[in-house]
């Protein structure tokens, strides 16, 4: 009997060591790596996401849970590779040029990773050129752009324009977010989606692969 609920619970409480140990045990017991990932870890991360969205838990708890997720993935990844499980897709994420805020971007990154998508993080103060190159090199499916300043949000549009100019705009879904960004702004600059928080961003990103 696999212990998915226990895995999910340990993840939610951010018990990195105990979680990694339990995942190791489960693998030894012959549970399929893919099931540990989806029914244990991703299920747990999705509960974390919902609670965060409802303000029930906050940034520190999400980060602690994400740290536990990483510890578990470190154990799980070789087994996943051996059993031929691939990430469902690839997302490129960054905070745009002129902007150094990275906490929100990091939260989104961790939550998206928590859904089984590979994430390439380009960091902060990121130019359009860097985004375009990363999309091409990684054959990305999704581009996530964060801007926390009203002075830098317009750069999200510059990046979308650069993707168009490079002829890769239609290959990717562009998601935008950050405190000053709204749905109306996302529509205006031609983004595919706006999400108000990290959990919704992860849900949205995952929905592109359903």
């Amino acid at each position: 009997m696999a212990r998915f609920d226990e895995i999910s619970a340990l993840l939610q409480r951010g018990k990195a060591k105990d979680l990694a140990a339990l995942v190791t045990e489960e693998l030894a017991a012959g549970v399929a790596p893919k099931d540990i990932l989806t029914e244990g870890l991703i299920a747990g991360m999705s509960i974390v996401g919902t609670k965060f969205k409802n303000n029930e838990i906050f940034v520190p708890e999400v980060l602690i849970a994400a740290r536990a997720m990483n510890a578990a993935l470190a154990v799980l990844k070789p087994a996943l590779a051996d059993s031929g499980v691939e990430p469902v897709g690839t997302a490129v994420i960054c905070t745009v040029k002129g902007d150094l805020h990275d906490i929100g971007k990091n939260l989104v990154k961790m939550m998206i990773e928590g859904t089984g998508i590979r994430v390439v993080d380009l960091g902060v103060d990121c130019s359009a050129e860097k985004v375009v190159n990363a999309v091409v090199e990684n054959n990305a499916d999704i581009v996530c752009l964060s801007a926390l300043l009203t002075t830098t949000m317009m750069y999200q549009k510059d990046i979308i324009d650069a993707l168009k100019a490079a002829g890769v705009r239609d290959r990717v879904k562009v998601m935008v977010g950050g405190a000053p960004v709204t749905q109306a702004f996302a529509d205006e600059i031609g983004a595919d989606a706006y999400t108000p928080d990290a959990a919704s961003a992860a849900e949205k990103a995952r929905s592109y692969f359903n």
């Binding site: 303000n55 838990i57 906050f58 002129g98 150094l100 990275d102 300043l149 002075t151």
Partner: protein, 485 residues
């Protein structure tokens, strides 16, 4: 077309253009309506009552920024009286003994503070504060910068200069002064740029380069002010302005080891450790001034300014003692402490039951409010901690000066309890109020003090926390409430 504006007993009929929003009409006619989001329809603070036409005789509440005026309608605005702190403690300073009068001015993002001084003996004759009318262009410096870039730069400059000129006129009339010799001005870097008519766009984005930081001496007529000379005090960087520099002079922290923290929308901090002079700033956001809090209010009559947990419920007091209309920053600090003591929220900041708590009739705190507060308080505290460490100071030994209105009015024990201030400085905290105004006054009175300010601005290094890993760790760790389950 015409509309009627009612404000208290004052009724005016004004001309306005087709398709103009109430906010823009009210702004054009000199009404100081708060619009924290800069008219984007998200902060909800520019609510007004409109009557006539589709709104009926009884009227309806609308957001002034989102609503287009119609011919013949009536709009009712509440009066927003100026508040703001003018008291400041300053180390005794020398006076050069010039003849005549001078005005020290602190241009804050929210409040302008003025002090009329006799230059010969350094005596303060009168002080007052008023709300910065630029608020209707946005609550924080970034929204002002955006507004300036959208073509309002000249209007923003005009706005603050007009308020300064009014203050000069008010002092002259009140004390029957023939002339005012000079005005010395401090403020954050953005406010001083707008005042001087300099381009602010460099401050708005990385690498955050201001157009100028050095001391300026101008003739009054250059800015259209009726004083002979205007002294604009020096800034350190885009986010550490002349207000902090002046605060350092007032507290004398440039002469001995210690830390000065000015706590408001931004937490600006300065540390002096032997040969090291260091400063930084953290973005706390406007939450501590009530702007992102559902029932938040500035420090005006009716704002809850203290909260106590007693016998299983909260007891509140308000500014002026009247019926609670909202909650200000000092009240918020107390309220969070009370909710922790009462076990209403736990150490992670989560409500144990429900998602809001009623503090007084019609005034409540929501889960989201608590979350905004957690972000703000943690930014301030983490900033002080990391700066202390980087400067090589020991928090237990050096004094910490707290400047700004919030620190003047709050309960310091509660500020430590909720983790806004580091608990390790418990022994040596001094509250100095509006140190910026006191320091500006000192620089106006004495060449020596002004030279100290210029030396300090020139040699202080800026510590950028936004890319600092130690700060991030501290920031995240401190978001919870230490000592609570």
């Amino acid at each position: 077309m015409q509309i009627k504006i009612v404000s208290g007993a004052d009724v005016r009929t004004v001309e306005c253009g087709e398709g103009e929003s109430f906010l823009s009409i009210l702004r054009a006619n000199g009404y100081d309506l708060p619009a924290g989001c800069g008219g984007r329809g998200t902060c909800g603070k520019c609510r007004v009552r409109v009557m006539g036409g589709p709104y009926g005789a009884k009227g309806q509440e609308v957001l002034a920024c989102q609503t287009t005026a119609m011919n013949g309608c009536t709009v009712v605005v509440e009066r927003y009286e100026g508040g703001g702190l003018i008291e400041g403690t300053a180390a005794p300073a020398e006076t050069d003994g010039e003849a005549g009068f001078g005005i020290a001015i602190d241009i804050g993002t929210t409040t302008l503070a003025f002090s009329l001084v006799s230059l010969s003996d350094g005596k303060t004759i009168s002080r007052f504060a008023t709300l910065n009318r630029q608020q209707s262009f946005g609550a924080d410096v970034i929204s002002r910068i955006v507004s300036a870039e959208e073509g309002n730069a000249a209007r923003l400059a005009q706005c603050v200069r007009a308020q300064v000129e009014e203050a000069i006129g008010r002092f002259r009339a009140q004390y029957d002064l023939r002339s005012v010799r000079k005005a010395a001005v401090c403020g954050n870097t953005t406010m001083l740029h707008l005042f001087c008519g300099e381009d602010v766009s460099g401050i708005g984005r990385y690498p955050f380069r201001p157009a100028f930081t050095e001391y300026r001496s101008l003739a009054g007529h250059e800015l259209g002010l009726s004083v002979e000379e205007i002294q604009v005090l020096p800034c350190v960087s885009a986010f550490v302005g002349a207000d902090i520099v002046a605060g350092c002079i007032a507290t004398g922290v440039d002469r001995k080891d210690g830390i000065l923290a000015d706590i408001g929308t931004n937490g600006e901090m300065f540390a002096h450790a032997g040969d090291r002079w260091m400063c930084t700033s953290t973005a706390a956001g406007p939450c501590l001034e009530g702007a992102t809090i559902e029932c938040g209010l500035g420090g005006v009559p009716g704002a809850i300014d203290s909260v106590r947990w007693k016998g299983g419920k909260t007891e509140v007091t308000t500014i002026g003692g009247g019926k609670p209309r909202g909650i200000c920053g000092a009240g918020l600090v107390d309220a969070i402490a009370a909710l922790l003591d009462g076990g209403i929220i736990d150490g992670t900041g989560a409500f144990l039951k429900g998602d809001r708590f009623l503090l007084a009739e019609g005034i409540f705190l929501t889960q989201k409010d608590v979350r905004s507060f957690q972000l703000a308080k943690s930014a301030i505290c983490a900033g002080i901690r990391v700066l202390t460490e980087r400067a090589g100071l020991s928090a237990k030994l050096v004094p910490l000066w707290i400047a700004g209105g919030l620190g003047y009015y709050w309960n310091a024990d509660n500020a430590r309890k909720v983790g806004l201030l580091p608990s390790e400085n418990a022994g040596g905290q001094h509250v100095v109020g509006n140190a910026a105004l006191a320091g500006t006054q000192a620089c106006m009175l004495s060449r020596a003090a002004l030279q100290r300010a210029c030396a300090l601005a020139a040699r202080t290094e800026y510590l950028d926390l936004s890319a600092d890993e130690a700060f991030m760790n501290e920031y995240i760790q401190n978001m919870q409430f230490e000592g609570y389950e």
